[in-house]
Structures are given as structure tokens and as C-alpha cells.
């Protein structure tokens, strides 16, 4: 049941795309271009940290997030 709701939510989100105007303009993204504004600045370090935990904990998955950035191009 909850997956049906998720489906509808995702499709609804996509359909509203045509009408939504970006509320953070491309020229307002200076902070996101800053390297400190990332979930992990250094991929080698992040990969190692995830490996340390995955080898010792039962949980796995959803360890990293993408997104943000300057939005250029």
C-alpha cells in the first residue's frame, strides 16, 4: 500500500515539474559551489569510511547522497 502512495507521489512530483519555477535562481547558488557544501569532499576518504563500517556492522546500503553543486550548465 505504501508503495502505491510512493508511486503516486513520485509521478505527481514529476507532472508538477512543468509548472514549477526554480525558487533558488542559478545565480544564487554560490554557496553550493563551495567545496565545504558537500556530503563528502573527498571520495577516497568517504569510500574508506564506508568500508570500515560495512565490514563491522550488519547494515548496508544508502551510505551516500549526491546532489547540490553549482548547477552550472
Amino acid at each position: 500500500m505504501k508503495y502505491k502512495i510512493l508511486f503516486v507521489a513520485i509521478i505527481g512530483l514529476q507532472l508538477t515539474a512543468c509548472s514549477a519555477e526554480p525558487w533558488v535562481k542559478p545565480y544564487e547558488r554560490a554557496h553550493f559551489a563551495d567545496p565545504i557544501m558537500s556530503f563528502s569532499r573527498d571520495p577516497v576518504a568517504a569510500a574508506y569510511t564506508n568500508h570500515v563500517y560495512q565490514a563491522r556492522e550488519g547494515a548496508r546500503g544508502a551510505e551516500s547522497s549526491q546532489g547540490g553543486g553549482c548547477g552550472c550548465n
Binding site: 526554480p22 554557496h31 565545504i36 569510511t49 548496508r60
Partner: protein, 417 residues
């Protein structure tokens, strides 16, 4: 309109020019406007038609990751295990639309861990992992392909990965999809006839959303299915045995041949006005082995002066044991599935970490744009609820719960060129 192929544009211009009355009576500006408006309408119709046919006609394009090289030295020391080694990463753009990456990683393990001390002998191991990857951009979509191979003397693993990410809503939203497939071959040193397989599939879905000029949130889902020989051929479980001197005896562990897990994580990132960043994460995990886990993390990044960056982090993890886990089984073969791996027990761990990084822009060699030298230190404390410390010899089941601390260090040099 950018993004629309030139041939289409030429065709539309041709049609509109013929359709419009090019009488010399119209004032120059007005005629141009009419032509432009009609062309615009026709463009729009074409764009919508082409899009619904599945042809991408976007206005914005994605950006490739930067060229960089990193050389990392890592060290883990805790619970009687020491693991050290290098990790080398290299990334380079090829042409306008592609970027390649290669990674070489080693774990040199010397172990006299609790499992080893109580039922085996100390050992040393060497694991090598190599990865190659390709990132391609096509308008607003980024595609990632990667292949990894890992080997040690009794375990070989290979995995392939494909992922897409797409920017929407004027680049405020990023949607990502990923699929990975893994093939493992499990061996047993000392037994050349032992050969088992374990296969894995990962499905990932992610959304990231810019909320304000200063904040970003991410939501990620990952489902993983494993099939095959999922346990460790050296590990044992213990059961009460009155005939044994210690009061318990060992038998090999037996795991189910399948496992499916679901994880959902939410992350948030916020920019503080004096130039600093704060991040938080929460992950909920559940699987068919009845392990339920939660992860909670906080991080704070604070730049100092011009060239220094400080990082502080805290992480808390808690899990409940697998349904076939027990520290001490009542008798031999008491269940279909038996596990005494502390990784599947009920426990929690807490990490506190600090990082410091120095950025420099060298004058020479000139091909290096900037570089940084970083040091990360993390202290992790593991506290087990139902895994007992068998180095303390007492009545079986009365041993104290096990706990240990580990220190990890990462020291690395990064260059951007």
C-alpha cells in the same frame, strides 16, 4: 532555442518564412516579432512532440567531476585487528563529455581478534581491490559505469555498477538511479576443494533537493539481495556442552542462502553565514534476517583562515540481532540456521572524529591547479549486548558482554590538475 537540432531549426524557419506575408508594408520590428513569435510557437510544438517520443531536448547540461588524484594511507587498529594500506585514486576528463577514474586499494590485515583468539590462530591477510569507472554526460543526465575486482587468498569478488542521475526543476532536484551486480567466490585456505559462490544485486534510488540558498536535503533508498554462501567458512557458533572442559563446544555456523535488505536514509546540509557547513544524516535499515538498525550522524565543517579546513563528526549506530543469532545455543544443531558473528548481534557503536586539511596552490609544477594535505582521525567504540567476551573464563553464558575501541587514521594528499 538551444538544444534543438540545427536541421529542425532550419526547417521551421523555412516553413514560417513561406507562411508569413513578407509584405514590405510591415514595419521592420513588427514583422520580425511576428516571425519570431510564430517560430517560437512552432518550436514549442516540436519540442513537446519530440520529448513525448522520448527524445531528450533539454536546455541545461550536467558538469563532469573535476580532474584529481588522491593518495591515501589508511590505518585501523582495534579489537586485536590492524589493517593498513594505501588507496590511490585518479580521475581525468576525456574530451567534453566523459571522465574516467581508476582506484587501487589494499588492506593488509594482521589479526588476533576476539574470534580468532578464542577459536583459531592469528593470521595475516592481504586484500587488493581495483576499480575503473566511466562518467558520461549527455545534456542534463549523468551516467556512471564502474567495475571493481577484489581478491585475497580465499575470497574473490567482482562487481559491476551502472547509475544515472538527472537534474530537474532548473537543477534544484537531482534524481538518481543505480543498479549493481556482484559475484563472489568464497574459498577456504587449507581446503582446495572448497568453492562456493555468493551473488548480490543492489538497487538504488535517490532524490536530492535544494531547499533554499543555504540548504540541501537528500533522500536515498537502497535494496540489496544476496544469494549463495553468505557466511564465513572459518567461523563457528558455540553450544552448551556439559561434556566439554569449558562447558561449551563449537560447531560450524549455518546461514540462510538468501538475504534481502532495505535501507532508507535522509541527509541534510546547511550553510552557515560565516562560512561553515553542518550536516546530518539518519538511516533506517531492515532485512530478512530480522536485523533492524538505525544510524545517526552529525558533521560540522569549519574553514579557518584562508587555507585550513576543520571537520568534526559524530556517528551513532545501533542494531538488533539476526533471528538466527545467539551467543550460546542450548545444544548442538538446535536450529536450522546458526550464527555467532558479532556483526549480527545486538550492539551499538559510536564514533567521534576530527579532520584537518590544508590547501595549497603551488606555483610549480604548473599543471597542478591546487592541492591539499588532509588528516582524519576517528575513534569508534563498539558495545555488544549479546556477544560475550570468551577470554574471560567463567560459567558459559555468564561472561561479560564484549566491547572494544578502534582508532582509524587517514592521511592523504590530493591534487587537482
Amino acid at each position: 532555442m538551444p538544444g534543438v537540432p540545427k536541421a529542425v531549426r532550419v526547417a521551421v524557419v523555412g516553413v514560417t518564412d513561406r507562411a508569413l506575408n513578407k509584405s514590405s508594408l510591415c514595419y521592420r520590428n513588427r514583422c520580425i516579432k511576428q516571425r519570431l513569435i510564430t517560430r517560437r510557437i512552432l518550436f514549442r510544438i516540436l519540442v513537446i512532440t519530440l520529448s513525448t517520443l522520448g527524445v531528450l531536448v533539454p536546455l541545461l547540461a550536467a558538469v563532469l567531476p573535476e580532474d584529481r588524484a588522491d593518495v591515501l594511507y589508511h590505518s585501523y587498529d582495534g579489537g586485536g585487528i590492524e589493517v593498513t594500506g594505501p588507496s590511490i585514486l585518479w580521475r581525468k576528463m576525456i574530451g567534453k563529455y566523459n571522465s574516467v577514474m581508476a582506484n587501487y586499494y589494499i588492506d593488509a590485515i594482521s589479526s588476533a581478534s576476539i574470534d580468532v583468539i578464542t577459536s583459531a590462530s592469528p593470521y595475516s591477510e592481504h586484500r587488493t581491490e581495483k576499480s575503473v569507472g566511466l562518467t558520461s554526460i549527455n545534456e542534463a543526465t549523468t551516467m556512471n559505469l564502474a567495475y571493481t575486482t577484489s581478491s585475497e587468498n580465499d575470497y574473490d569478488a567482482q562487481s559491476a555498477h551502472i547509475g544515472f542521475s538527472h537534474d530537474l526543476f532548473g537543477d534544484l532536484t537531482t534524481v538518481s538511479l543505480g543498479y549493481s551486480r556482484g559475484w563472489d567466490e568464497v574459498g577456504k585456505s587449507g581446503d582446495p576443494t572448497f568453492a562456493e559462490d555468493a551473488d548480490r544485486q543492489n538497487y538504488r534510488l535517490g532524490f536530492s533537493q535544494i531547499l533554499t540558498k543555504n540548504s540541501l536535503i537528500g533522500l536515498d533508498f537502497e535494496t540489496i539481495t544476496d544469494e549463495g554462501f553468505l557466511n564465513n567458512p572459518y567461523r563457528s557458533v558455540r553450544y552448551l556442552d556439559a561434556t566439554s572442559a569449558l562447558g561449551y563446544s563449537y560447531e560450524p555456523e549455518v546461514y540462510p542462502r538468501t538475504r534481502t535488505s532495505n535501507a532508507v536514509a535522509i541527509r541534510a546540509l546547511y550553510y552557515l553565514p560565516y562560512r561553515a557547513a553542518i550536516r546530518g544524516e539518519y538511516r533506517l535499515y531492515t532485512d530478512t534476517w530480522d536485523i533492524n538498525a538505525q544510524t545517526f550522524g552529525l558533521g560540522y565543517t569549519h574553514p579557518l583562515e584562508k587555507d585550513w579546513i576543520l571537520d568534526f563528526r559524530y556517528r551513532y549506530y545501533t542494531q538488533t540481532h539476526a533471528d538466527f543469532y545467539s551467543d550460546l545455543f542450548p545444544f548442538q544443531q538446535s536450529q536450522n540456521f546458526l550464527a555467532r558473528d558479532k556483526e549480527l548481534s545486538s550492539f551499538n557503536d559510536q564514533t567521534i572524529g576530527i579532520g584537518i586539511s590544508y590547501e595549497f596552490s603551488p606555483q610549480n609544477p604548473t599543471f597542478i591547479d591546487k592541492g591539499s594535505l588532509s588528516l582524519n582521525y576517528d575513534h569508534i567504540r563498539f558495545d555488544y549486548d549479546d556477544f560475550r567476551d570468551l577470554t574471560v573464563v567463567t560459567a558459559p553464558g555468564q561472561e561479560p558482554a564484549y566491547s572494544f575501541s578502534a582508532d582509524t587514521v587517514q592521511f592523504f594528499l590530493s591534487i587537482w590538475y
